[in-house]
């Protein structure tokens, strides 16, 4: 560690090799925190670029300077560029006489259905009426899972059992929601691997046919380097496999299982860095109230500690 606190007091301008040991230390720390490998590389070279040639304040440690530059970069990345106010948009849709529709998608087992229920609960707390649409018509028990949540929360459930075309089930659900003047439809979908072409095509069809207000990508904080690939491919395949002239992409991220990773919060950074999509919710437990907003400061603290 001592190499990181070498002082360059008296040196006028920062050169690349002055930064190397401090950057290596910082990079290793980010890797341990589960930030994807390619992102630690990109981040550290952008920090280097921002510092090389700069004048060094006297009696400042190089490690402090590097840490500060990294912190600034992280704030920039994690602060959402586009913000979405769901409740405002729900009311806007209501005024147009239609329900606000959210599609939850992602790979298998990440927590789509559970966190859909949490979002349902959150909406109800804001006096918004909700319907769940059981459009995972594949996985055993998926419909009953959603029904259990719907019963517990007293939310209405739209389901057509198994083996139906999920795109059509969603369409019928929305039609029913319009008739019953329901404010929000939460569409559950089956988990799928990002490289599974037929299943990705089916998702693109569901999105195209129903043109939801919000396409949420659900990813888990446990995921390693694959997280970025999942998100980027879901995004890309929604474009490539859509029959629409103006295809939709991922609007936001719901990051789950945040309670299982301690300070290894790197997945949050990796996903936002690569996609630019905002993290709209954090899932941090298995009960309905375990849904939080992202706290940029605390994420950065975990990453750099």
């Amino acid at each position: 560690f001592s190499s990181l606190i070498q002082s360059v007091a008296g040196k006028a301008v920062i050169e690349e090799e002055d930064l190397a040991p401090a950057l290596k230390g910082l990079k290793d720390r980010l890797l341990v925190k589960n930030v994807a490998q390619e992102i630690t590389d990109e981040l550290s070279s952008s920090v280097a670029t921002s510092l090389v040639g700069k004048k060094m304040a006297s009696f400042t440690r190089i490690s402090t300077t590097v840490q500060k530059a990294m912190e600034e970069a992280l704030v920039r990345i994690l602060t959402p560029k586009r913000s979405i106010d769901i409740l405002r948009d729900v009311h806007a849709a209501k005024e147009q006489g239609r329900p606000y529709v959210v599609v939850f998608c992602g790979v298998n087992g990440v927590g789509k259905s559970t966190n859909l229920a949490k979002v349902g609960y959150w909406l109800m707390q804001h006096n918004v009426s909700v319907m769940m649409a059981a459009c995972d018509t594949f996985r055993s028990g998926a419909v009953e899972q959603l029904r259990t949540h719907a019963n517990r929360l007293q939310i209405s459930l739209f389901q057509r059992g198994y083996e139906k075309d999920p795109a059509l089930v969603a369409k019928e659900a929305i039609r029913e929601a319009i008739m019953n003047k329901i404010d929000v439809v939460l569409v559950d979908t089956a988990g799928r691997m990002q490289d599974n072409e037929p299943l990705m095509r089916a998702l693109a069809k569901l999105v195209h046919m129903n043109n939801p207000d919000l396409v949420l990508f659900v990813g888990e904080a446990l995921v390693g380097n694959d997280g970025v690939d999942q998100l980027m491919k879901f995004n890309q395949k929604l474009v490539d496999l859509s029959t629409s002239a103006t295809p939709r992409t991922i609007d936001g991220i719901l990051l789950t299982k945040f309670d299982t990773v301690d300070d290894k919060v790197g997945a949050a950074l990796s996903m936002v860095y690569k996609s630019g999509a905002p993290i709209m919710f954090l899932g941090c437990g298995q009960t309905y109230t375990d849904l939080k907003k992202l706290n940029v400061k605390s994420i950065i603290k975990s990453l750099l500690s």
Binding site: D28, L31, V32, K33, N34, A36, Q37, E38, V107, N108, G109, V110, G111, S113, T114, A117, F138, R139, S140, G141, A142, V143, E144, Q145, L146, R147, T148, H149, R152, M193, Q194, D195, N196, E220, A221, L222, V223, G224, N225, D226, G227, D229, Q230, K233, K257, D259, T260, V261, D262, K264, G266, A267, Q286
Partner: protein, 306 residues
Amino acid sequence: MVLTELGGQISSALQKMSNVTVIDQKALQECINEINRALLQADVSFKLVQTLATNIKKTVNPDDLAAGHNKRKIMQQAVFNELCGLLDPGKPSYTPKKGKQCVVMFVGLQGSGKTTTCTKYAQYYRKKGFKPSLVCADTFRAGAFDQLKQNATKANIPFFGSYTETDPVAIAQTGVENFKKENSDLIIVDTSGRHKQEASLFEEMRQVSEVTKPDLIIFVMDSSIGQAAFDQAQAFKQSVPVGAVIITKMDGHAKGGGALSAVAATKSPVIFLGTGEHMDEFELFDVKPFVSRLLGMGDWSGFMDK
């Protein structure tokens, strides 16, 4: 297969090295750095990667890499051996024997694939002439019993569970007792997903294990898991005697290094791979071919029986 990319990277690192005529410490270090990068990108735990690098440096003497020796082969053998070592705890796992009653309990993180894998496992052994049965000791997850029930019904395997009993320990005990009376020789107990941060969940797992006295506890792990793998796997092992690992979702794009770390943490062998959502998408695991595949095969296959 998902792991070939890692293999490709390591192979190219080695290729670069073999293009250098004089191998000195620096060239060796550069090669090791590239191998490290590849392993980190595959989600192998940071600590393990460092150990691996140290070991390789220890086993490979740069003098051996001087002219006249096959440098590439020496490095390849070293990397291959280290990765095998990581996956091979040195002792085989318990395997069920036909006719002798045995209980197998599945544990793991939330959503890792336990319930799906339970039925795959049952079906695999039924094909070998066993009389398997399934017990649903997950009373927590919404729809858990329906999920197991529907899978078991499709696969035609007897199952036990309850919609009203809320104590997983009680269900597990009754279920195992029932199937023992019915002469099932492979009683499989599915449990809820859990994580180390919640002590009460681990306590529940210990209790289920106490009343069912499993002959084998299988830790089910998702192949896409990152740096949290080692700590979580280790915590499971410290709480119950995990004896084997199954890695799921190998049909995805993940490189599986997190699972590698889990093996190191539990000191238990991987026995099967899950390769899809369908019940027949299930493969036996074997260390050497797996590592060869991880390294992208090619001329690696020559090391397999050494």
